[in-house]
Subunit: 106 residues, 2 copies
């Protein structure tokens, strides 16, 4: 697992958002690619999913008509322990502060 690819993938807000939303689901369910509310057009979205895939941060399953992504949690937790929690936390604090009294500005 290439740390360079991983960090480059996560450097982009849209891509980080995708992984974070997947990580924030306690059930770890698959999500349709179109279900992410990204501020980009279709082509760019496809591009982002490709970058995430090549970094090993998502798995993509093709339905022909549509496709869905999910998180290889075991792989990620083994190679990048703590990362998913981190991303999920950022997501949470972005829309609402839920941390234990630590209001220190990020």
């Amino acid at each position: 697992m290439d740390l360079g690819k991983v960090f480059r993938a996560l450097a982009d807000d849209s891509r980080r958002r995708v992984v974070a939303e997947l990580a924030a689901d306690p059930e770890g369910r698959e999500r349709a690619c179109g279900s992410f509310d990204l501020p980009v057009k279709k082509a760019a979205r496809t591009h982002h999913f490709r970058v995430l895939r090549e970094a090993g941060l998502i798995m993509q399953r093709d339905h022909g008509n549509g496709s869905a992504v999910s998180l290889p949690r075991q792989d990620i937790e083994r190679h990048l322990p703590g990362l998913l929690v981190l991303l999920a936390e950022e997501l949470g604090s972005g829309s609402r502060a839920g941390r234990t009294g630590s209001a220190t500005a990020d």
Copy 2:
């Protein structure tokens, strides 16, 4: 602490190397800025240190004549638990095992 800045900072090999080398020192000592063997000129090195500083990944102390950097370990461990271990590990495995052609980085 801005995850975007952190990941963008760590997306660059030279910068990741700096943090990794600092993290790999069990003593957590300060290091002179010039003591890192980076394949770039002075100006680019200054730039990299600035990016790392603004991401909160290093502290820089100025001597007028020279300057030294160190790791705000507590801060990093609190906000990004596990990161330093990860980087130090990459450094260790990178120098021994054949990484994909990164020795020609210039």
